[in-house]
């Protein structure tokens, strides 16, 4: 965790720290992860990876192949961005399970389906516990 945070750029890090309680897992959006990557690696991508696309690990592989010349900030950001995308994916995948008990109590009679249950949980702030609430935040679904 500390390692992941250390690779985020200063501004984001401050924003993250400002938002989190102590010891909470914090995730960032895919848009913010992509922005970090462009900011720290954009120049190296244009220099070393001309014609290559982001998909299928091509940019990652290209930057690794040129690691000796790629800026250290880019190398660490790349690892951080991949970790943060995985963290957000895991957070999104875990909401159903973490919130199952709260959903059963707060959302009886709600039309089935992820979107309807989420809408219910977001409204039922008195019933929804801290863990479920945090899971929704980490998933970026607030």
């Amino acid at each position: 965790m500390a390692k992941r945070l250390s690779v985020l750029s200063g501004t984001v890090l401050i924003a993250v720290l400002a938002q989190t309680g102590v010891g909470q897992t914090q995730t960032i959006s895919y848009a913010d992860a992509a922005t970090l990557l462009a900011k720290e690696c954009g120049a190296d991508v244009k220099k070393f990876c001309k014609g290559l696309n982001l998909g299928n690990g091509r940019i990652k592989n290209c930057l690794e192949q040129h690691q000796a010349k790629v800026s250290p900030a880019c190398t660490s950001t790349m690892a951080g961005v991949i970790a943060s995308i995985q963290l957000r994916l895991a957070a999104q995948a875990s909401v159903d399970k973490i919130c199952a008990r709260d959903a059963a109590r707060a959302c009886r009679g709600v039309v089935p389906g992820k979107a309807h249950i989420l809408g219910c949980l977001l409204k039922a702030t008195r019933i929804v516990g801290a863990k479920c609430s945090q899971a929704i935040t980490d998933a970026g679904w607030r």
Binding site: A31, L54, G55
Partner: protein
Amino acid sequence: MSIRRFRNTLALTVLLAAAGNAGSQQLSEHQLVNTLGQVAEAASAIDVAMLVQEVASNPGKGVAGLPHWSQLATLPQFFVEINFENNSVAIEPGSYRTLGLIADALHHPLLLRYKFLVVGHTNATGDAKHNLKLSARRAEAIAEALSTTFSVAPNRLFAIGAGSEMPVDAANPKAADNRRVQLLNIGLVK
């Protein structure tokens, strides 16, 4: 219709230009989710293979009036700007954020059950057939980045090219505004 859609394009471009302001980032993802979350009855009738066939058989003659392409206008959709290296499928780092924003929207519970069509558009500089091929490859590159880097399920993404056959600025087919990416909700994943 086209004026309303064009305004959407501008709105998103303006919001993205204001990157760094958390409020406007939030708003644009919500905008994507809300616009693409509306379901159109016509969505289930969209036949991607027929769209490809129609546009390939009429290079240079436009697609807006063709039977399958004309149905697209009735679907919930969004236009975004994604920039590529010249004559290449490589997405410019400056457009990574837009890809991430689309990924945020596609991972939202409101859109999880739906599949999406990515349509690439070019301006009219150059040969119509070449533009068609390039726009299809670029749309595929976007779908690939979404389904690999950003883990959107590949069965939710379809990519086709429209070349320069559907300019947003028909009076100025060579205008840069015509180079854009169209994102449409094409109904439930089966």
